[in-house]
Amino acid sequence: MTKRQIPHHPSRATTKPQRHRSAHCLRILRALSAFIDDELPRQICQEIRQHLGACPRCEEFVASLRQTVSLCRHSPAPVLSPDDRALMREKILAAIRQ
């Protein structure tokens, strides 16, 4: 598939490495959360994947963004102790009675 869907940069070849922060890289970076959340139309996803294959820095960047999100998702959940749970309930009920 040679047709590119990201507008405004029809003349930029996605198949050869580019200097980072090129306009194309910036367009890609803007869309990366939607990309990793799988919210983009298939055509655009494919185009981004093509760019990532050709642009090591964007590739590295998306990997680091994925890792960041994955760390957030798996970050351990703080747990309330049974004592605190009971104590807080008493405090709330006392405040309700006031």
Binding site: F61, V69, L71, C72, S75, M88, I92
Partner: protein
């Protein structure tokens, strides 16, 4: 804001109060852990998190009659907690409320493209056994301006959909996604900039052992 309600002055008063109390007890029992988790992700595991949980359930109790059940109970509680948190924050000091621009979040130097942390060939669970990494992650999230932090916590930590986050925060989905992207880029940048003492191979072996 939910106005405080006085109990209805009718013959049904006693049974209404009783019903309310029962409803409160089951609401508390089923959701206190969820609300504490959310509160401590917003405020850290501190007294402030407990205060926020208490404030949330107190407001929920007062607002029971407004809850018509068309939203999920948890979404309703997240909404109450989020509002209470923003109110409480105004009285405390924390990361300042400001806008994050995409420009400032895009890396400009070579070192900033990857994370300086030992996560590459580890599962996130394994990586997070590294205390320094957990600390760096929490610090990075803590430095987020509040409205970005809330979106990130709700979406990427509490696991709400973008639509649900919009309901909780009174934003459209587009605004949620835009804030989320900036929040993630911010945390990513903080993690890539800081590096960690623990990213050396010897430290790394600690988290791998066993």
């Amino acid at each position: 804001m939910v106005p405080p309600r006085s109990a209805p002055r009718t013959a049904k008063r006693t049974s209404t109060a009783h019903d309310l109390r029962e409803a409160f007890d089951s609401l508390y029992r089923d959701h206190v852990d969820l609300m504490y988790r959310y509160a401590s992700r917003l405020c850290g595991e501190t007294e402030a998190a407990k205060d926020l949980v208490q404030e949330t359930f107190l407001n929920a109790y007062r607002g029971f009659k407004q809850f018509r059940g068309e939203a999920q109970v948890s979404t309703w509680l997240y909404t109450i907690a989020s509002r209470a948190c923003l109110r409480m924050r105004r009285r405390q000091k924390g990361a300042p409320q400001r806008e994050l621009s995409l420009e400032e979040l895009v890396p400009t130097t070579d070192g900033e493209f990857h994370l300086q942390i030992p996560v590459d060939d580890l599962s996130p669970e394994e990586a997070l056994q590294n205390k320094q990494l957990r600390q760096a992650l929490n610090d990075a999230i803590d430095r987020l301006p509040p409205k970005y932090k809330m979106v990130l916590v709700l979406r990427d930590m509490e696991g709400l959909s973008a639509k649900e986050v919009g309901t909780v925060m009174g934003l459209n989905e587009r605004a949620v996604k835009s804030r989320l992207h900036r929040a993630r880029l911010f945390v990513r940048r903080e993690l890539s900039r800081q590096g960690l003492a623990g990213s050396s191979p010897s430290q790394r072996a600690d988290t791998d052992s066993e």
